[in-house]
């Protein structure tokens, strides 16, 4: 039993707390207020929502195919700019967009950034009826876990869908994994994780706060094994990409050739005091960093006069991003810590190449091939970038019968060097036109060469795919 004074104190406290307690109990009024907030936010962004139906070119099993897919996007300017994911439009030059009022408007891809998986489209304004109501791009820097957000888009093609959830975490680090087609995502950004439902087709659509501002671009989900695990690209990064695309049609980045690990992996070699520095895990051969004498195990303290912060892995995308913003061709200084002593290295960053490269189908012979990009050459440890990489071989084709395999690099054809995909394309076209058979392909297979005798028969007239086709 409480003594009278204590009892009085408790009563007093309860009275003081009462308004707060009442506020904590969700009243009908507050639920309705929340509901109105959701409606308001929806109304601000829904008119800017775009349903995108691109026809993508895919290369599968040695053949080029066209497939129709659906994705999402958001209009962010009155002049008809649409922000979406790069993987939605990929190599398409023009796509068909359906606006929220069901108008179908064609759009042109004006810039892409495969590194961040973002692309900007321009609607054909002549085809747009009435004024556009663009969404406001907000800020992602001040988002908080637990904050309400909505995802809008066309999950599985179901257009104008809205799902509601909260931000699960604001800085999810997903390891940089090169995707099978060479595209990379996540090198330069961490991700906003949300439990708002995100499904295929949501890609490119906006993640919106309750003020109706776009705070992220929905890009990924972990299907099957995961539930309610959606990932959006922070809008702060997207804004920077948009700015560069609008200004120069592309995003320029530079490359030093360094792979980073958080300082925590450096153990005793790291300075314990302070938070500065990041561990250099790997230095690419023939890169600016290699030429500057940078070595794995070095700890970078400063680059171009700016302190390096990479104590935890979540900090690495930001580090990579600002390093990639250093202008290519201009010498910079790196302050390194090696064996406890500081040293300075001078390096000149180079342009960062696109992770992609073109791909072509050689229909008559039954295979597809792509460029040997610098990134691919590096991953395959090739000594040079000559040749064309076989990406697929169609079964029962001439190429298949002759023994050509995906992964082979066509180096020579009938004893002539093949420096790249373009030359291969021209030569093949010429051979097909003049119906030459057999043709000897010399391919690089790992560290060996293989000699492949292709024996096409030309019973039908040559395909009229080339400009110089006879008849």
């Amino acid at each position: 039993m409480l003594q009278p004074p204590a009892r009085r104190r408790l009563a007093k406290t309860l009275i003081l707390l009462l308004p707060m307690l009442l506020a904590a109990v969700p009243t009908l009024a507050s639920v309705e207020a929340d509901q109105r907030a959701v409606y308001r936010a929806r109304d601000r962004v829904l008119p800017a929502l775009v349903h995108i139906q691109p026809v993508l070119e895919v290369f599968r099993a040695g053949e080029r195919e066209q497939i129709a897919v659906t994705g999402s996007g958001v209009i962010f300017s009155a002049s008809g700019h649409v922000l979406t994911n790069d993987h939605v439009v990929q190599r398409a030059e023009r796509v068909l967009c359906t606006l929220s009022d069901q108008q179908e408007v064609p759009a042109t891809v004006i810039g892409r950034d495969p590194w961040t998986d973002l692309a900007v489209l321009q609607l054909e304004m002549a085809e747009v009826e009435g004024p556009l109501r663009p969404a406001t791009l907000g800020r992602s820097g001040d988002l908080q876990p637990g904050q309400y957000v909505m995802a809008l888009g066309s999950p599985l093609g179901l257009s104008r869908s809205l799902s509601l959830g909260v931000i699960s975490t604001v800085e999810r680090y997903l390891p940089d994994s090169p995707e099978p087609d060479g595209a990379v995502a996540g090198t330069f950004n961490t991700w906003i994780q949300t439990d708002a439902a995100i499904n295929p087709g949501n890609s490119g659509g906006p993640l919106v706060n309750l003020r109706g501002e776009v705070v992220g671009i929905n890009a990924r989900a972990i299907p099957v094994i995961g539930e309610n695990l959606g990932f959006a690209i922070p809008i702060d990064l997207a804004q920077e990409v948009v700015r560069q695309i609008l200004a120069q049609g592309q995003v320029r980045r530079s490359w030093l050739g360094i792979s980073w690990q958080p300082l925590t992996a450096a153990l005793g070699a790291a300075p314990i005091s302070g938070t500065g520095g990041a561990l250099i895990a790997s230095v690419a051969a023939d890169s600016a960093a290699a030429e500057a004498g940078v070595r794995p195990g070095d700890i970078a303290l400063e680059v171009a006069g700016r302190a390096v912060v990479g104590r935890h892995e979540e900090q690495l995308p930001t580090l990579r991003r600002w390093l990639s913003d250093l202008p290519a061709g201009a010498e910079i200084e790196l302050v390194l810590l090696r064996d406890g002593a500081k040293r300075v290295a001078k390096a000149t960053p180079r342009d960062l190449d696109s992770p992609e490269g073109t791909e072509r189908e050689f229909r008559e012979w039954g295979f597809t091939a792509r460029d040997v990009t610098p990134e691919r050459a590096r991953r395959m440890r090739l000594e040079d970038r000559g040749g064309a990489l076989v990406s697929g071989v169609k079964s029962a084709s001439f190429a298949f019968e002759a023994g050509l395999r995906p992964g082979d690099i066509v180096r020579r054809m009938d004893s002539q060097e093949i420096p790249g995909l373009r030359v291969l394309e021209q030569r093949v076209q010429r051979l097909i036109e003049s119906r030459v058979a057999p043709v000897l392909l010399e391919v690089q297979r790992g560290r060996s060469r293989a000699f492949i005798l292709l024996e096409p028969t030309y019973t039908t007239k040559p395909a009229s795919s080339g400009a110089g086709s006879p008849r």
Binding site: S259, Q261, A265, A266, L267, A269, L279, A281, S282, V283, P296, G297, R378, R379, M380, R381, P438, L440, E442, R445, G446, R447, S448, R449, A450, F451, L453, E455
Partner: protein, 475 residues
Amino acid sequence: MRGWATGLVMALTVLGANPLPAESSGPGATLAKLASSVVPLRYTLRPQEAPTGGEGEKVEKVVCGILVSDDGLVVIPGDAFPDPGGDPRLTLEPVAFTVLGSGEAEHPATPVGFDRDLNLGYVRLAAPLPAGLTPVRFETDPQIRIGQEVWIVGLLAERYEYAAAFWPARINAAVEKPRPMFSLSAPVLDLAIGGLVVTPDGRALGLVGEDVLPPPRSPGDLPQNALLVFGSFSQGPRVGYPMLFPAPLFAASMASPPPLESRPSRAWLGITMQALSRRLAAYWKIDGIGGVIVTGVLEGSPAAAAGLQGGDVVLSLSGSPIPAREDSDLPLFRQQVERLAAGEAVPLRVWRAGEIRELTIRPEVAPRTSFLAEEYRDEAFGMTVREITFDYIQAQNLPVDTAGVVISELENAGWAEVAGLAPGDLVLQVDDAPTPDLASFRAALEQAREARRRQVRFFVQRGVETQFVSVRTDW
């Protein structure tokens, strides 16, 4: 499968036990006597080395053996004998050889040899020979003709107590490649592999051997009556096609069985290759019976020293032309190379871009592959590493002078695995000390152990990039 069943002569004897119930004179009796040379032989297959977490599987198998000498030599199919160089934890090895006699009688035998080329194994019964067994005498010059009538002498299944059985057949083809052999018109059952082939009047012509085929690219490529046997999981099943091996073919190997534990120091040239197909030969206008296209030359190898180049076509080795037309002919060329003496100058005739050149090569003893590589296991860290070998360097496209140790195995939830090390990682340094070989790696871990370091930093190459992995210890 039906035709021969009617002609099947049933169990004339239950091994060496009962007097013959059939005719006691005439040609039938001559044949029946041969049954006393055909014996069921049982062995147990078990891993050469116990794999982690148990003894590994044991399999018992019975094959048909032929007693060929008074001192108890028995020839058996060599399927059970593993190829040298397999991973010892994945390679099954035959042990506990036993000749099954009549009733419950068991006669132990010891393995004495294995002829890898002919896929024949040799075991020896302890003296004196069990009663009822008589060695067979093969014809020294059997004079085998196509169309000739023969009997295959083998064994029936276990439920018929491995009774000797006779199947009629005819010689239906003679082949020269890869060795002189004859094809038999009757399908050959499992327990007739290793059996005798005799004339109707009881002369032993040879035995039912297996022409071991190169591993098929897909199961569909197998001949219909090919036999799938397994010696080593890591090297894939050995696949054989039953053939009559005439006695002279294996006379020498029978006289002195090739020793078992021979991990022969084989010679090598250091090239990767492709067969010169008829079509490629026509494209390059190369006459002859075939050849070997050099598709790669390993740095520092005898081939590199001899000046061989990718794209060269080797037409003859030591003066003998190379009859290679398809990639399935390449094993023959490899055998030809393996038999060369290391260090001896061997002439090579080579086609290069339309011209014939004569080169001289000095083969060397083949370097170890990763299967034969030395390993070191550290129980505390829960990891096994092996020395780096040329095939790993080749496969990973690494510089030839790459030095390090390769993680071959990690214990589940051991220190190393928990830290994120992965099999296949190339360990370059441990706590900043380079680990170019097993000794230095071992020393580095030893040092960490003595100092009871709480974290040990590994510097590894994984794929194209290097990275640091710190392993937390719990001494």
